[in-house]
Symmetry: C2
Subunit: 485 residues, 2 copies
């Protein structure tokens, strides 16, 4: 975790707040510590920031005016969506000199076009609401993740959110056709295109996607929709080895003609603590297995719910996997409730770790076939560094994405354990970097990985990132100290 | 077409060439007009450039040294791949002050990984060779276009090439996981990642993809592969109206569960001139129809070639399309030869126009459902401006991409007709812009659309593009005068 940036040159907070009230009205400007409290902490409680104010514009024009006022006053801005990010990119620093601009009131779905399969939404739309609107129009918006009930699409775009639909549909980046952005000087860029092909100039939208609010504030986006799947089949499998886990993925993709829509893996330790601590979670298999896979096939093909459809595909591919010795036990969901119960095991695994003491987190990616070797190397390195440490690697194996989380040794002091965060990160990130992986797969860099990014990226790449930052935000006013040191 | 940039400040060509020879050897430096000739003209013959030299480095390091030498001498660089681009981005200006760097000798496939479905290739690999290597490993590289026998993957990336596989697999952009780039100052950026998820910093690769060599020279790339389809079904249909064409697309996507892999449309005029002028081309339908569609389904699902597979799907969806009155006649390919013959009609349509005199080209995109209205408006506007003009709109309807080409009136002087290029462009591009389309869908901006881009893009977006250009190429030495004025 990096040192907070120092407070910016003194600006008059009172006059700035008066200007905000002029623009958005007094109900949309929060300026007391109590009113701002929920905007100052992030989900893991690692940071507790302060700010001059939290401003909640209702429109793009209001946002532009608020940003212009900050720009004129030389005050830095922290864009904030649903505040569910896990790397501290979404909260201000402790020095209190920043202004938080929340997108929470920009919640209009401007235009849903089921014929061309596009939707234009404002930044503050809750992801689950967007999914529901798409479904009501017989379409699918495929980004899906644990925080979908409270995260906002603007934050999903700023962080290029991953989740469980990436294997089939890609990251949030791949869903974005166009953006509307307020730039750091308060100008509005209307790049809301809804075209499958557009080579008229540089692909500027890709600069903002995944830049974590350091280049501008996304106010709206045009996104891709897909035909709604008509059938889904889900299974939960027990496996003896990680090599069998990666082999099962290859087998399933080949068998189904690339029809696998989710492929999540979990270790025995993760299932144990999830069933121990999380209500409604139970191991559906009789015997324990070293590794588990949640696999799902789905299809938008009419008839995919009938004989010869995805359910038969899943049974067929698991049957052959048994014969080949890849899978040792498996259960298929027979109802929507059973499917939800299987997914709950996976979705509750992060929270369950909190009941076992401190957890040091990593969100890394590698080529899929290198994951068994990575986990073996990393497990050895971290348990040598701290005997008794309990690794809990799980996540989106189909995307090569491992949440390599480390639960503290039993009985150790939690604070003393968490003091080792940076040291553990260095051990794991060095292995990831040697193996050509990424130290920030889907959660981003934010504040928590700024130092590691600077340590591990090539000087050429850091130079290019700084050049881009200077080009779009020459005064360094947008989310300073995040992503780039 | 824009005014050529003026020649750069005088640099000593002889000493520069001597330095190139030191780096790449004398056989890889072309410096006479005769030796350079094929690198100075582009496929449509619109421009005839000159250059100090054409240099053909064999490695990334040689490329970096050549670029560094140009940088030191203050000499601008034009990157060139297979030289098949259609917008003049790939050839030098007439002033002769530039150096062309050809990627033709960088032809290694460094690493093909069928397990993780990735391939790392050098920029000079011919697209068809890459397709063949992928197929030999039971994989698919899905970018496919008319020039695939001679275009190079580096050029495909620099231009974000489209083609006929976009509907199912996306543009070239969507295939790129990582890049290796020589920057304008001669430094090498190694961004060759092969990860499905990577949020560690800005997505710099997307800056270079589609930037047409104005920000750096791509020397290698890591690309996605896909499971090879096991079965393909192709049909050629006659339709009475453009509205039926877009309705057939919607129907086919729904019926097949998004299994349509190609959906190309052509007008009667295009089929007439193709059958008249191109050897081996014949209309497969008995009666003439106002519009034609080439539709293809394919699947990597084992058994997709058997009963209940893609062939049955195509027959079923066409059967229902007949009943609904969307399709008036259709023929299914019964063999690979028949499939090739149907595709030849589509692939030869550009060349056929050359036999009818001058052709003024547009490469535009719109939301699919707006295409009938666009073509009606544009046809009316251009034939009012020039009675007797023969519009030939065709292309990738599934992507919303129309090659809106205008064949000259019969009997008109070709040169006099082509003098109207800019005037016709303005008429068509104004309509496209009003309808929120793109004036450069898949061919790019190059030299030919620089003026139109500057005329039609918002000042904010042009400012951002210029800021990015200055950030990465501060001296403006890479392909100056292309994309940006």
């Amino acid at each position: 975790m990096t040192v907070p940036t120092t407070a910016p040159a003194e600006a008059n907070t009172d006059s700035l707040i008066a200007r905000f009230v002029e623009i958005v009205g007094d109900k949309a400007v929060l300026a007391t510590p109590e009113a701002m409290a929920s905007h100052m902490v992030e989900p893991r409680g690692l940071f507790h920031g302060r700010a001059r104010a939290v401003v909640k514009p209702a429109t793009t024009e209001e946002t532009a005016a608020v940003v212009a006022a900050c720009h004129a006053a030389g005050v830095p801005v922290v864009p904030q969506g649903g505040n569910t990010g896990l790397v501290g990119g979404n909260v201000p620093f402790e020095h209190g000199g920043e202004v938080v601009i929340s997108t929470a009131r920009m919640r209009r779905i401007r235009h849903l076009d089921p014929v061309n399969l596009t939707v234009t939404v404002e930044a503050g739309v809750i992801l689950a609401d967007l999914q529901a609107e798409a479904e009501a129009a017989d379409c699918l918006f495929p980004v899906s993740l644990a925080a979908e009930g409270s995260c906002q699409i603007g934050g999903n775009i700023a962080s290029n959110a991953g989740g469980t639909g990436v294997l089939r549909y890609g990251n949030t980046r791949e869903q974005v056709l166009g953006l509307e952005v307020v730039l750091p000087d308060g100008r509005i860029w209307n790049g809301l295109r809804r075209l499958g092909k557009d080579n008229a100039g540089y692909a500027l939208r890709h600069l903002f996607i995944g830049s974590e609010g350091t280049l501008g504030l996304v106010t709206a986006a045009t996104l891709r929709l897909y035909p709604k799947p008509v059938a889904t089949a889900t299974a939960f499998c027990g496996l003896s080895s990680l090599d069998n886990v990666t082999a099962l993925l290859r087998h399933a993709r080949a068998w189904s003609g690339d029809g696998v829509t989710a492929f999540e893996f979990m270790p025995r330790f993760g299932i144990e603590i999830t069933c121990r601590h999380m209500p409604g979670c139970a191991d559906p298999l009789e015997a324990p297995w070293p590794w588990y896979v949640l696999i799902e096939l789905s299809s938008a093909r009419p008839g995919a719910g009938d004989a010869g459809g995805v359910r038969d595909d899943l049974e067929g591919l698991l049957g052959e996997a048994f014969e080949r010795g890849l899978v040792d036990d498996a259960v298929l969901a027979e109802s929507l409730d059973q499917r939800d119960a299987l997914w709950r095991l996976r979705e509750s695994m992060s929270e369950a770790q909190g009941f076992e003491g401190g957890s040091i987190k990593h969100d890394v990616s590698l080529p899929v076939s290198d994951i068994p070797a990575f986990i073996a190397r990393a497990n050895q390195a971290v348990t040598e560094a701290m005997p008794g440490l309990r690794p809990c690697p799980f996540g989106h194996l189909g995307d090569g994405n491992v949440h390599y989380n480390l639960t503290q040794p039993e009985g150790m002091d939690k604070a003393a354990y968490l003091d080792q965060w940076d040291a553990m990160n260095r051990i794991v990130h060095d292995i990831v970097t040697e193996m050509d992986g990424s130290i920030a797969a889907e959660h981003g860099v934010g504040r928590i990985k700024v130092g590691e990014l600077a340590r591990l990226k090539s000087p050429v790449e850091l130079d290019m990132m700084r050049a881009v930052k200077r080009a779009i935000d020459p005064d360094g006013r947008f989310n300073p100290g995040k992503v780039l040191p």
